[in-house]
Symmetry: C2
Subunit: 563 residues, 2 copies
Amino acid sequence: LGNNVSSLTLDDEDTFKILIATDIHLGFLEKDAIRGDDTFTTLEEILQCARTNQVDFILLGGDLFHENKPSRRCLHSCISMLRKYCMGGTPIVFDIVSDQTVNFGTSKFPWVNYQDENLNISIPVFSVHGNHDDPTGSEGLCALDLLSTCGLVNHFGRSLSVEKIEISPVLMQKGTTKLALYGLGSIPDERLYRMFVNKQVTMLRPKEEEEQWFNLFTIHQNRSKHGATNYIPEQFLDEFIDLVVWGHEHECLITPTRNEQQLFYVTQPGSSVATSLSPGEAAKKHIGLLRVKGRKMNLQKIPLNTVRQFFIQDVVLADHQDLFTAGTPQVTKKVEDFCQAKVVEMLDQAERERLGCPLTPEKPLIRIRVDYSGGFEAFNTSRFSQKFVDRVANPKDVIHFLRRRENKEAVKDEIDIDYSRLVRTTALEGLRVEDLVKQYFEAAEQKVQLSLLTESGMGKAIQEFVDKDEKEAIEELISYQLEKTQRHLQGRGVTTEQDIDAEALDRARALRLDRGEAPQDPMEELGDAHMDSDEGVTPPPAPTRGRGSRGRGGRGRGRGELP
Amino acid sequence: LGNNVSSLTLDDEDTFKILIATDIHLGFLEKDAIRGDDTFTTLEEILQCARTNQVDFILLGGDLFHENKPSRRCLHSCISMLRKYCMGGTPIVFDIVSDQTVNFGTSKFPWVNYQDENLNISIPVFSVHGNHDDPTGSEGLCALDLLSTCGLVNHFGRSLSVEKIEISPVLMQKGTTKLALYGLGSIPDERLYRMFVNKQVTMLRPKEEEEQWFNLFTIHQNRSKHGATNYIPEQFLDEFIDLVVWGHEHECLITPTRNEQQLFYVTQPGSSVATSLSPGEAAKKHIGLLRVKGRKMNLQKIPLNTVRQFFIQDVVLADHQDLFTAGTPQVTKKVEDFCQAKVVEMLDQAERERLGCPLTPEKPLIRIRVDYSGGFEAFNTSRFSQKFVDRVANPKDVIHFLRRRENKEAVKDEIDIDYSRLVRTTALEGLRVEDLVKQYFEAAEQKVQLSLLTESGMGKAIQEFVDKDEKEAIEELISYQLEKTQRHLQGRGVTTEQDIDAEALDRARALRLDRGEAPQDPMEELGDAHMDSDEGVTPPPAPTRGRGSRGRGGRGRGRGELP
């Protein structure tokens, strides 16, 4: 199965050319005066790139939209760009040989857009939905469905059943190459994990010429371990797959890595916009040009030029005993000056790297995470921000103070909550909702500070679901809250009770779980803390704290460069 | 100019066939368990009708959508139906000879959809926007723009300037027939009135063969007089026009009436759904099939079969001295029984009329307006509603109590507010916003009970605009509030201070004026009261109070049947 041949660059009538991108998050911060156009500009770059490279189709891994209900401007721009770039007279030279009413069965027009006799499509887009733009409401519609109803996107990989998932591939043929495109739109990780464990997830394969198909699978789930069952281990995926396009994770790790156990490759294109100021987002953003010929593939990294630069550094004050001593006169001022110098340094680096890149926005994103444990005091960040208001895209949140070390020590013993117990119980179908909730609170009392769950937040949210008998939603909410609580106890963030309650309620109401991508979420900054303790599954390298530049060029090594 | 020839039914290569409809209000009450699908069903009927009749195009007079930001379901259904009915292989046999970049200049794709080489359109839809789906936000986009960007609707008649309006026609030619289609999307009436008066509205005409064009104008404004300058008198419209399609007014008065002064005809198709339980909405709903050949036209009324029946009756208790005497024992019970008998009678009538109409929904809308002035007491309407919960589509608001007579007497002397003064002042460009507000309050103090304008409502709303220096918005708000206040003083409704304030604030925030169509608006019931005092402009007949049936068949005579 040697299917990664790097010299496969010849474009011939047997070679599929596929543009791969994910997590475009169109509309993210669209009202921001500086960053408001970023996502739109980058979508346009991606579509232009598809056209320039004359790809056969575009494959998106979910979260095309940042908001579940995109604004009018956002929808309008998206439709407008898709019409501009993906419609036209260029003939499409591959066939679909599977049953399209199965592939696109959830659409009102259950066939691929380029075969619709009323539409002239030059570049078909295939997309699964992400957790941001997932189906909601009684009709189970998502923003992508508006695009598919317009005939501009082929929304696939949607499972209507919660009992079992059967993933039926879109079977494509170009010349002699046979491509089976599998997709699975975002599902709450806990639920999907359980379904995999219970063997409720099946992938269908063509009976004929089974070995001749190149099997491409698109998924939008947690890839890094956010708790025991709160991600999808690569090992869960069928080993007949050749390449997995993994959406949802924002770090660009696009060079395919081989899973030695399953013998398939995984590419993680990453988002095309930084929706949080965490280290993963600081990696240079790319999309991919995938070529498939027979069972061989080649993935060409294409850097995105319109993406705003993002530089992040960690500063641990206690590590700089030569410079700062807590409690001494003027130490806070010294720290501020130190940070200011860092920002200037990063801005200079940004400017140097931007030379010759006219498409890159002028103001970079800058973040310094200051660990001030050890008796240090925080300086006034709003005054600090003022100094960079004309040079930085995010002047208001350049500095992020945290006390990582101390708290980490303090709660070490409490973090081993038994997740598996909750999952096991809730998996029982016969259980009454009330029992579920009761069990949860019993578990919570033993393990968790109940004070986190005030009447106005978690409790109320749960009650909403009890009233509506929505077992699944409760379960998700509880898992989510448990995980958050655990993180809170780990004490690595600045989360308050109020934050958690408000969020729990919001999330409960939206009936969705959306982990760790909200831009203003203070928990956001903990993303990499989890990665620290990741095991298996080819984790991204752990960030090294307080060692100077960790910007674009500053990372130790990208996952894509692992052997 | 004898241009109304009723025998023009021959469909030949020189005859334009145009389906005319307006105020479809897609999504109105879409969450209602009984009525939720009504607007969708009727849009489908209209589109089917267009296809069956093989029309050249569909002309919509605005308010295709009920909500400025339609729900996903609503957008999805609309796109889906338009794609289903308006795309296809049928060739379009008329040409557009005007400059399309002018006609559709506000679109990202400034050309008619059926000439786009990437779209196969079988029935082009042309639409102006209404006050419900008007452009908002910094991009000035409206829901219709999503459809035009998809290529499913040709949004025209949009003026970007607030200084002057130049209406440039879409010039169409089919065989020897030349059709000039003018359109003007909804603009706050006061503003448009003023612009007409100030000669800021111009209609452009083709230089060549001026007399050969049939001039069709679509407008979405108040046609009935809602105050001195709060409507558009037909006399304002150019006399070279042949036919005006008047949107916004919900009563179906589709048979063209001749304006003897201007020598043009006006057709008022009316809404295809009752968005308020007022008499105008009880007239049978129609759409029109307009044929134009040379300068001759014929408009064929097509009844809509999917529209829910609506029956309304007025009961004035004081008029029934034979039956009821206020204050006597059991009189309230007697009144209730009387009303109950009325409802049963109306339900029976509804059932009879529905015979042979399988598409008409089973449960009709029923409304009895009970004028209980003269010392009578209201009975318990929720208990009353219970009796009809299975037979009526609107069980919760069948009965509407009002005290019309008494209040009318009481405030008779106060209703002559000098509107013209306000209009004149606000028209001055140089005036400062603060002066405007000050002037308003001075005027208000003299004429109006200031208690209506509490800190939390009108005042706050105005302050918002003062802060933002939005002169126009203030002016509209003030005019609107003045008018409301006047109506309040007329005392014909049950409006409370709170109603007015909350509404004022909402409207102010939305930066739009949207008069008198909100379904739950208590002011709604006053619509016909205004008509009572209408003068000129071929007003609809004044309702006769308390004279038994005023349902579908019960109206004295439709405006369309006036000589």
